[in-house]
């Protein structure tokens, strides 16, 4: 709310208000041309996100999460990129904008927080200037006002003694403090969407909890939408409205958070969840593992991309790619021929077990590769 007032009082053209979702991504595809062939990092991703809502994007590393979030913002390398699909943000088609036009959106309408704060902070610029810079550039506030707001921002992200910190360089701060500063920078112009790419992966659990709390509070207070990217299902469990699970460049399951945990359909989601050590389990519990690694994005398996690692996989999975299907809960979609918790899924799992085929968590016969 405050953001909109800022823009009006400073004469910044407010983006047109539309009634639809704030962010709509349709069939977004991002491939990289490389010496080895086409890297299909993002392959036909669609979702939409309303104001004030949080979408979690989860998947192993290399599944295309970072490329997806950068592709949405238009922050891609200039060469050897093939992008198609639509990204509609507040009624504007971002893929049609020039970089100069995008620059008025980055940091103003869409804030960004990355895994490594050092990549988004300028190491040779004082913290205070990094915040006031964008305020003054985008919102045209004067020096004194910029400083006042910077102090208020640092205070609101939980940095003690904000006046003193204004004069610090990023390397003088701890990892957690730096991430707070990047959040302050991202929030400076009152964005309507926050893209957070693994914001806590480099941090300790205690600091992670603090940063996630901070993001949640800011989001609530500012009525922002947020895309929270992470490899840890635990991170998104209590903090998102909806979760999209990515595997090898595709969204393989998307559901409201509670539904995803209570009624997951994708064997991949299940396997990912089972591989997390749980506090409630006694010590020395053998963890279930997902065998192998995600596929090479240049040479993707035919059919379902998860089949080489899937405990439910059958011949059909290898031959035919499963389409996005709707589950019973509204908003719950998945791509699987033998979904978890269905008779077909149980049969498939039983058959694989009986025949001693690959099964995450069960001993596998040694193979002389």
């Amino acid at each position: 709310m405050r953001a909109r007032r800022d823009r009006q009082t400073t004469g910044y053209p407010a983006a047109p208000e539309t009634s639809g979702p704030l962010l709509e991504v349709a069939d977004l595809t991002t491939h990289f041309r490389t010496g080895r062939g086409m890297v299909r990092a993002v392959d036909g991703v669609s979702f939409s996100l309303d104001r004030g809502r949080t979408l979690g994007v989860v998947g192993e590393s290399g599944s295309g999460k970072t490329v997806l979030s950068r592709s949405i913002m238009g922050l891609l390398p200039r060469t050897n990129v093939v992008r198609s699909g639509e990204v509609r943000f507040a009624g504007r088609e971002l893929t049609a904008l020039t970089e100069a036009e995008l620059r008025d959106i980055w940091g103003v309408e869409i804030g960004m927080v990355f895994q490594d704060p050092m990549t988004s902070l300028n190491p040779v610029m004082r913290v205070g200037r990094q915040i006031t810079e964008s305020l003054r550039h985008h919102l045209g506030v004067d020096r004194a006002e910029g400083r006042r707001r910077a102090v208020a921002l640092l205070d609101s992200v939980g940095i003690p003694e904000p006046e003193q910190r204004l004069g610090d360089f990023p390397h003088q701060l701890s990892g957690g403090m730096r991430q707070r500063v990047t959040i302050a920078v991202a929030l400076a112009c009152g964005p309507r969407l926050l893209m957070a790419d693994e914001p806590t992966t480099a941090l300790d659990v205690t600091v992670q909890a603090q940063i996630l709390d901070l993001l949640a509070r800011q989001q609530r207070e500012r009525y922002m939408a947020m895309v929270l990217v992470t490899h840890d299902l635990g991170v998104v469990a209590g903090r998102t409205d909806e979760i999209a699970v990515m595997y090898a460049g595709k969204i393989v399951e998307k559901a409201p958070t509670r539904t995803l945990f209570s009624d997951m359909k994708m064997p991949y989601t299940e396997a990912l969840l089972k591989s997390i050590p749980k506090l409630a389990d006694p010590s020395h519990t053998t963890l279930s593992v997902i065998p192998g690694r995600p596929p090479d994005l240049v040479n993707l398996p035919t059919g379902c991309r998860f089949y080489p690692r899937c405990p439910y996989a059958q011949q059909r999975c290898r031959d035919e790619e499963p389409p996005l299907q709707e589950a019973t809960t509204p908003g719950h979609v998945y791509r699987c021929w033998f979904p978890v918790g269905t008779p077909e899924g149980r049969d498939a799992l039983d058959r694989n077990r009986r025949e001693g085929r690959l099964d995450a968590g069960a001993p596998v016969a040694p193979a002389g590769a």
Partner: protein, 345 residues
């Protein structure tokens, strides 16, 4: 510990017994980093001790001090009946094969210029053990133990492997000399959850297969609990609580342990993450000038005047459950209970 004391030490033969360990670093003129201050623990043969705490609390320094890399400022490290701190360089070198270490950064732990077979065979080369055929057989055995194929992987160099695979190679190298004690310094902190599970299971198998004693360092209590028999919680160079892994989780007694537990992101949307309060506020203070008395007092919700004046000593709370706190959480509101009732949204 966030106090000191030795109540947690057990009688009888421990493979490793560390007493009053102190490690200071020089940091500029007349400044000292009190990285580890009076830490005592023991590890029985075949046991896994988990060492958990926020980064910067001195976990790695403790692990390295046990290996005498570098030698601690003061304190005693007895390993298999030998006082390591008293050994001369040559004698210390003789003990090296019995203690090995695995590091956090899988890439940095392996020499980028060498083939992985050479990296793994290096321990035998250092000690001049075994002939060519014998070495090959041992290399094959440890590669097999960590689930890598020596013929396929051996000729490659570390940068051609993923983080998880590099960690396997590190584990393979550490097994070459048949050590008795393996110190794992955050071996899974840099890995994805899916790969983390693979490595944790591998460590458990390896331990069984080779009869290892382990010290497992991590900042995530859920991970530590999974692999450990006994857990020591560390804060700013001191120990806070020492207890059996399951017991610690069921009866977390130290306020810091409770805070650590509250920070773990549970993969269950029914458990609403603590917003204010239960989680830990603020950051770990500088070890250059740690707080007086109980080092945790600046962030402790239960802190009283006494905590600033007097350092708490380790004392027994329950059988084999020790805590260093003046005002421990006597009857902890059971963790599961608060969490499950907090599910209304």
């Amino acid at each position: 510990m966030a106090g000191s004391g030795t109540a947690q030490l057990r009688t009888g033969d421990a493979l490793l017994r560390v007493e009053h360990l102190v490690v200071n670093f020089h940091a500029g003129p007349r400044q000292r980093v009190h990285a580890v201050s009076d830490v005592s623990f023991d590890v029985l043969e075949g046991e896994t001790l988990g060492l958990v705490g926020e980064s910067g609390c001195g976990k790695s320094t403790t692990g390295r001090a046990v290996m005498q890399l570098p030698r601690p400022t003061s304190g005693s490290v007895r390993f298999a009946g030998q006082e390591l701190t008293a050994l001369k360089r040559g004698a210390l070198r003789e003990t090296r094969p019995q203690m090995q270490m695995i590091f956090q950064d899988p890439i940095s732990s392996l020499n980028p210029r060498r083939r992985v077979v050479d990296i793994v065979a290096e321990p035998l080369a250092i000690w001049g053990r075994g002939g060519g055929a014998e070495r090959d057989a041992k290399v094959r055995e440890v590669f097999d133990a960590v689930g890598l194929d020596v013929d396929a992987a051996g000729d490659r160099r570390p940068y051609q492997f993923s983080g998880g695979q590099c960690q396997r190679i590190s584990i393979a190298r550490s097994l070459m000399l048949d050590p008795r004690l393996l110190i794992c310094d955050e071996p899974v902190s840099a890995l994805d959850v899916s790969v983390q599970a693979q490595i944790l299971n591998l460590l458990a198998d390896t331990k069984k297969r080779y009869g290892l004693t382990m010290i497992f360092i991590a900042h995530d209590l859920a991970v530590v609990k999974n692999v450990s028999d006994r857990v020591a919680v560390m804060y700013l160079g001191k120990l806070c609580e020492v207890a059996g892994a399951d017991d610690l989780y069921e009866h977390p007694t130290h306020p810091y342990t409770n805070a650590l537990l509250a920070s773990i992101p549970e993969p269950d949307p029914q458990v609403r993450p603590s917003t204010n309060g239960a989680g830990l506020a603020g950051e770990i203070p500088s070890p250059v000038s740690p707080p007086s008395g109980c080092r945790f007092r600046t962030r402790c919700p239960r802190a009283q005047d006494r905590c600033a004046a007097e350092e708490p000593q380790m004392r027994q709370m329950r059988p084999d459950h020790f805590v260093a706190c003046h005002f421990p959480v006597e009857s902890p509101v059971s963790f599961g209970a608060t969490r499950s009732t907090a599910s209304n949204q």
